[in-house]
């Protein structure tokens, strides 16, 4: 009879194996429970709420798709959406252009690189509340730094009511958002630039490529992965933006700075239209998903044609 070194009889071993098969789930369970309850569950449970007329206090009433019909027929929806698209285009273009320019400058062998990088990244660690309150004063029409600076330079014609004028307010908020975040995108571009091998530039130079041609045909294509990351993050940020307009203008004047996340909050917690607000959240969710999908498609399909 062969001597087995097995310490366990086979049914016990089967049990042990089954337990060890289950073990990985126990490791991921705590994290997934928190994520599942507080992130995934509201994503699903809100669907049912979007079908209700409900003020959060009285008994909710089922009204089918009426909230969605109202969203489609409400002229506010278009205003808010257009504001949000305007905001997204402004912030994304501003952040990408500025951060790429500064990343390229910082990528050169320069004295004081660390100093510049530390300074330019600084607003990223600051709170939006601090940034928002500070800029509300800088934008103050009478005593604010911006107008005082413009008057000092004799540029009186540029002086304006930055947050009070409906034609200007949204662009002022875009400026603040760019100010707060471009350092973040700059660091990501910088990491991308550092990963481009020098040989590529040397080869381009031997072929007689100008600085612009090197940028166009070496730098930009090689930066595509980080470009996708930067554009995706800034687009998502723009469609989720809440803090800046809520703190600086509360959506005004005359809804000129009202954006989707703010609209959802105001409908829900100022007017207590819980069902309508929940329905709006799903409209935003669909828009964000579509934008992300289209953008990924566009940016990765450019890769194939090269």
């Amino acid at each position: 009879m062969p001597v087995t070194s097995r310490p366990l009889s086979s049914p016990a071993k089967g049990l042990a194996r089954r337990i060890s098969k289950l073990a990985p789930y126990l490791w991921v369970l705590p994290a997934l429970t928190v994520y599942g309850i507080f992130k995934l569950y509201p994503l699903v449970s809100g669907l049912q709420m979007s079908l209700l007329r409900w003020d959060g206090i009285e008994e909710p009433r089922y009204i089918g798709l009426r909230n969605f019909e109202k969203i489609l027929s409400d002229p506010m929806t278009g205003t808010v959406l257009m504001n949000n698209v305007h905001y997204a285009v402004g912030t994304v273009v501003g952040k990408i252009v500025l951060s790429l320019l500064l990343a390229i400058l910082l990528h050169q062998a320069l004295k004081g690189r660390t100093f510049y990088r530390t300074s330019l990244f600084m607003p990223v660690v600051m709170s939006f509340v601090v940034v928002g309150v500070l800029w509300s004063w800088l934008f103050n029409p009478q005593f604010g730094l911006i107008n005082s600076f413009l008057r000092g330079l004799g540029l009186e014609f540029l002086v304006q009511d930055w947050l009070g004028d409906a034609a200007v307010a949204l662009n002022s908020l875009i400026l603040v958002d760019i100010w707060k975040w471009y350092g973040f995108h700059m660091v990501i571009f910088l990491a991308g630039l550092q990963s481009i091998p020098d040989e590529l530039y040397e080869a381009a130079r031997i072929d007689g490529a100008s600085v612009w041609q090197q940028f166009r045909h070496v730098t930009l294509p090689m930066l595509q992965p980080v470009m996708i990351v930067n554009v995706t993050i800034s687009v998502m940020g723009a469609f989720n933006v809440f803090d800046i307009p809520f703190i600086m203008t509360a959506g005004g004047p005359a809804n000129a700075t009202n954006v989707m996340a703010l609209h959802i909050y105001i409908r829900g917690f100022k007017f207590y239209r819980f069902g309508f607000s929940a329905a709006l959240s799903y409209v935003l969710l669909v828009i964000v998903t579509l934008v992300a999908a289209i953008q990924l498609r566009l940016m990765t399909s450019g890769d194939n044609t090269d």
Binding site: K21, A23, P24, W27, V28, A31, L32, V34, Y35, I37, F38, K39, L40, P42, L43, S45, G46, M49, G56, L102, L105, F115, Y116, R117, T118, S119, L120, F121, M122, P123, V125, M126, S127, V129, V130, V133, W137, L145, W179, V187, I188, A191, V226, V229, N230, I233, M236, F239, I247, A261, I264, Y265, G268, F269, F274, S277, S281, L285, V288, T289
Partner: protein
């Protein structure tokens, strides 16, 4: 010797030399311009926090004539900043603890074990982590769980947003740790979990630091969650306190507002300047692989 001199002269043609100097000057001037645009408003805010209300209007660009330290005493008292700092500290440290503990354990499992649905779980997280949460069901959930107006509720609300990114950071780090380490610990009689706690975690400082900074700064600056979930004055964190104070006194006492903003900003900027490498890595991780 004269040949050598000739050679160096040839290499540094005056035209190229000048062009390089011009480029350097151009680079520095653009960088200095943007550094000023970024740093000056913050510096100005700190200077303004020492001005009197009259000086804010009459002396916009100059230094405060006679530093009004009183602004800071007023800010501290009127805005109840002591309590606000305490609340922000509790919530931020709580969020760091929850995120680091849960995500490191989960990240280790995703990195080292193979199990069914692991890819599916990770994909679900990738696709949902950026999605804007519908705030009504989110709020109703917290009301039903009696988690509004509590530290725990706020900590969980903030942690749940950071957990996926933290799991990805830990997973990438643990993948880079050689498997022999874990095997050696297991041969020494350690259970899998003991090996993780006693052998793997002690050498995971970089990943823990990255996730901690990312979570701490996010929680410290978080404004929307407390706006949604905190009702009572005593539990308000710094961000919400500043906003409420701004609404109450903003139009009248800007100098005190600037003192409040400075108290909220100076500590985090000092820590940032000293640990800037870690901050930049922490806050951009997840966007930059490796």
């Amino acid at each position: 010797m004269s040949a050598a001199r000739f050679a160096t002269q040839k290499r540094t043609q005056p035209g190229i030399h000048w062009r390089r100097i011009m480029v350097t000057i151009f680079n520095h001037s653009i960088l200095i311009l943007f550094t000023v645009i970024i740093v000056y408003p913050v510096l100005w805010m700190i200077l303004a926090s020492f001005k009197t209300p009259g000086e804010l209007i009459s002396n916009i660009w100059g230094l405060p004539a006679d530093p009004a330290y009183q602004n800071y005493a007023d800010a501290w008292e009127k805005a109840k900043l002591g309590r606000a700092l305490l609340n922000s500290g509790i919530v931020s440290i709580g969020a760091v603890l929850v995120v680091v503990c849960l995500s490191s354990i989960a990240g280790y499992a995703f990195a080292k074990f193979s199990f069914r649905f692991s890819t599916v779980i990770l994909l679900v997280m990738v696709f949902t982590m950026q999605a804007p949460v519908p705030i009504i069901p989110f709020y109703v959930l917290f009301v039903r769980l009696k988690l509004t107006d509590s530290y725990l509720g706020l900590i969980l609300a903030i942690a749940s947003g950071t957990i996926p990114l933290a799991i990805f950071i830990f997973q990438a780090f643990f993948r880079s740790i050689p498997g022999e380490l874990r095997e050696a610990a297991k041969i020494d009689g350690c259970s899998e979990f003991a090996a993780f706690l006693r052998v793997v975690m002690p050498i995971s400082g970089p990943a823990v630091a990255t996730v901690s900074i990312l979570t701490f700064v996010g929680a410290w600056n978080e404004y929307f969650m407390p706006l949604l979930l905190i009702r009572s004055d005593e539990l308000r964190p710094l961000t919400l306190t500043i906003q409420v104070f701004f609404l109450q006194f903003g139009r009248a006492e800007w100098n005190v507002i600037f003192a409040t903003l400075s108290i909220a900003t100076i500590p985090i900027i000092i820590v940032y300047v000293f640990l800037q490498r870690w901050f930049i890595r922490g806050l951009t991780s997840g966007s930059i692989k490796g």
